[in-house]
């Protein structure tokens, strides 16, 4: 399983995402230039030039026509996937930490950081038509967050509710009609770095700094499974075809210099979804892994690291032959 190594970023990767079909891979990095890659051979298709700060989040709509990025330069931008042109720009009061298109891609959400006396806020915007008036357009809904800031976000698959993961480990479910909290739980002790759906959006996995990843039911927020490691988990993903999850993480960037790369544990770690047992590790990154995701066909996965590389791994046949006895 020799991985494709995508070398195009000059600084650490913050988030990577496949489009719905999985032929393209979108990567966001602190170097201000999100890239798009062919997932098949790792060739770079192009970059979105225009941001002036670290990109914290990236998302692509289901038709792969629009791409959305949020950055530390206090903007959230919409890009045209085909041309790579910036089509919409929303100035914000502070860094944009998370962004995501809704299931229909008629709407999108982004959240801003609590900074410079600005509260953390959730903004729901209409992205059906993107023209010159887009940046002046009022958001459909604004939810100011008084407590701990939002660090990760998910839409449901009916455009009705949102799930946010917070800095203090809390998970909150929001009703979009009313803008009110429906449900909240606190199963993590520390920052939730990432949340990802399973294929049918009925369960989601969280990755937390508290060294665990957890699986929840999407409707009730019931805790289903816990995957334990010895390091902060930065990202976790669920395989679309097998009962597997992959966790990426490692020693925090600021502590890395004090430990050897082996002790930093920068491996992608595979757990069984149901048994919570670790069964494989993939080495390669020489810094913590910041983002992992499965290809929609489940035959490969990609990881983006603090080291600035994206590694696309296609699974060997032995991966598909491996089965837990039960």
């Amino acid at each position: 399983m020799k991985p494709l190594i995508l070398q195009g970023h000059e600084r650490s990767i913050t988030q990577i995402k496949y489009n719905r079909e999985g032929d393209l891979l979108f990567s966001a990095s602190k170097d201000n230039k999100p890239n798009v890659w062919y997932s098949l051979n790792g060739e770079r298709l192009g970059s979105f030039n225009g941001h002036q700060g670290a990109i914290w989040c990236i998302d692509v709509d289901w038709t792969t026509t629009k791409c959305m990025t949020g950055a530390g330069d206090n903007t959230c931008k919409i890009w045209d996937c085909e041309t790579g042109k910036e089509t919409g720009n929303i100035p914000t009061a502070s860094s944009v930490r998370t962004c995501m298109f809704s299931y229909s891609a008629n709407m999108a959400v982004y959240t801003t950081d609590k900074a410079m006396k600005q509260p953390c806020e959730i903004f729901i915007i209409d992205v059906r038509t993107i023209d010159d008036s887009f940046s002046r357009q009022e958001p459909i809904l604004r939810i100011p967050i008084s407590g701990s800031r939002v660090s990760s976000i998910l839409w449901d698959n009916l455009d009705e509710s949102l799930i946010t993961g917070h800095e203090n480990g809390e998970i909150i479910q929001w009703d979009l009609k009313t803008g009110k909290k429906i449900n909240s739980i606190k199963e993590h002790d520390q920052l939730i770095n990432d949340m990802q759906w399973n294929k049918d959006c009925t369960m989601f996995i969280t990755a937390s700094k508290d060294h665990t990843a957890k699986l929840f039911d999407a409707e009730t927020l019931m805790l289903l499974k816990t995957y334990k490691t010895e390091r902060p988990v930065n990202s976790a993903a669920i395989s679309p075809i097998a009962e597997h999850v992959v966790l990426g993480g490692g020693q925090e960037a600021m502590e890395v210099t004090t430990t050897s790369s082996r002790a930093g544990k920068f491996d992608s770690r595979f757990f069984h979804l149901v048994f919570e047992e670790e069964f494989a590790r993939v080495k390669g990154h020489f810094g913590p892994i910041n983002s992992v995701c499965f290809h929609p066909d489940g035959k490969s996965y990609a990881s983006g690291g603090e080291d600035g590389f994206v590694r696309v791994h296609s699974f060997d046949s032995s991966y598909f032959e491996y089965n837990f006895d039960y």
Binding site: S104, L158, T202, L224, A263, V274, D325
Partner: protein, 697 residues
Amino acid sequence: MAKKKTDDKSDESSKLNDSDSGSEEPNFSDPEDYVDDISDSELLGDLLHQKPKETDGYENVIVVDGVPQVGPNRLEKLKSVINKIFNKFGNIVNEYYPVTADGTTKGYVFLEYSNANHVLEVVNLTNNWKLDKQHTLSVNLFTDFDKYDSIPDKWEPPTPSPYEGQADLHYYLLDPDAYDQFAVVTVNVQSVQIWQNTLPEPTLVEERNNWTQTYIKWSPLGTYLATFHKLGIALWAGPQFTQHKKFTHAYVQYIDFSPCEKYLVTFSAQGDPANPDQKSIIIWDVRTGLEKRSFNPEGPSAWPIFRWSHDDKYFGRVGNDVLSIYETPSFGLLDKKSIKINGIRDFNWSPTDNVVAYWVAEDKDVPASVTLLELPNRNEIRKKNLFNVADCKIHWQKSGDYLCVKVDRYSKVRKEKNETKYSGMYCNFEIFHMREKQVPVDSVEIKEPIQAFAWEPVGTKFAMIHGESPNINVSFYEVKVGLAPILLKKFEKRACNHLFWSPGGQFIVLAGLGANGGGSLEFVDTNEFLVMNTTDHFQMSDVEWDPTGRYIFTGVSFWKCKVDTGYWMWSFQGKILKRINLERFAQILWRPRPATPLTEKQQKEIKKNLKKYYAQFESKDRMRQSKASKELIEKRAALMEKFNQYREQQISRWEEKKSRRMALRNNVDTDELDADTDNVEEEIVEFFVKEEIIPID
């Protein structure tokens, strides 16, 4: 507050007075002919024991008997004699010399002290005081007269307290599979866990939070578990780890058991502020929990200050130019005096005989020497003079057959402001053949600095780490009867700083502990000097062999390193068996075992028939393994079934919402990747694969 109280009182009393004056008071006095028929015990039985006795207040009074009987003319003289004796214990506030009708004293005296604390001491120290040939004073407490007077004439035998059977202290040795136990300390809740190393997974025997306040220690034969507390040491034993004994000694830092577990030595530098008289070293009897003797250490010395002989009969310590050997159970000095040895620096007992080895530093013209001294007869078995000695370390081989003295020697010495500086250091190993006539001594010289030295516990080999980083070498020597030690093997350029022999000998682990060690591990079989495995446990701080030499724990302790704490278990061949990553893990200790009761012949017999036993154990292991895997599979099957049920519900709900999802995405079915092939636009992308330039001729 006090003022307020008095105010309250005065209020009350004034109220009482008011009522007194306000209305006519009925007369409560008894009529004159009234006879009280209620006894005191009936009326106030619960208070009666507090009733003041005639002797109350006489605690400070002593009675001195046996005083010479003198006439009034010599009374003053007698008083001054008595005062001379008794004044030094405290302030005498009252004295009384009873006299007969003619004025001669009656031969006894009453003395009252200002403080009851002195009185006991006075009685202890002055009773049977010899005043002169005819007169011996007998001193007693005044209260004792009353006490002994009131002893009932008829003796009632005390009721025996019911016998409390002691728990079986050695139950853990009766385990049919001879599984060993180990203890794990975690620091956040100070929890101690006792595990039994069963196959295939260890079982938790006992777990208690706040079982110890610092660390724990097993007794040398494994009978007791010692835990450290603010107030002292507690010993736990038996199947349920019930408390065996407590030893009250505040803020104990170090403890040491005698080799046969009869005595316990505790050391507390801080001491108990509430009990300043308590000395910093106390020796206790483990079985009774009583203090046997206490000491204050003189000058700096390394723990253990007291070293025990192998049979618990003697213990000793080094003082200034003396070696003090004490006897048990009397806890007095052997022959009532210490052994005078000028310049003695350190000593150690043979692990099998009552022989001590000590070394004496150089002093002007007298060379340094190592001496073997037999006890209790103080017979000098062997003395070896040494020159240019900076320091000596005494290493006894566990079976007592050999003694190795590591001698640090110098080629030059300089004196600088009271500090002696040595240069050109090299090292000698003096090997004493204890079992041979006249104890011949062989010498091995190593020109490099020595990092570590260790005897094979069973066998005749010793290993040492020598050299300077990065050229660290490990050498193995063998000693044989009548021969100088032979170099067997030298491993060059190794990354290790500690040696850990298997308790059974033959196998050794070379380990790099601490921050510079890197956690390297090398498992060596010293029969053929085969390196069985080279691996590491990063940041490792501890290596612990189990008492049988089958397993090894390596640990990263929270005391040394804050991340990745936990313990790993290895087989003696260096195969990783388990990795337990435990947050705030601090200490792991195997429970020791007593020496085997089998004779050497029986052990040989077993070794010879190992093949026979091997098959038995193999089949037993296989059965356990299959049972465990069966359990695991059952557990997994249950989990899977539960999960599948949950998933089915989810999926059926998901199916119901399909139309709504489709509506959101322009009626395109995106549930599966290839669910809606009609709506797919195929895009053909050409990749530039290879460029070839072919020159055309």
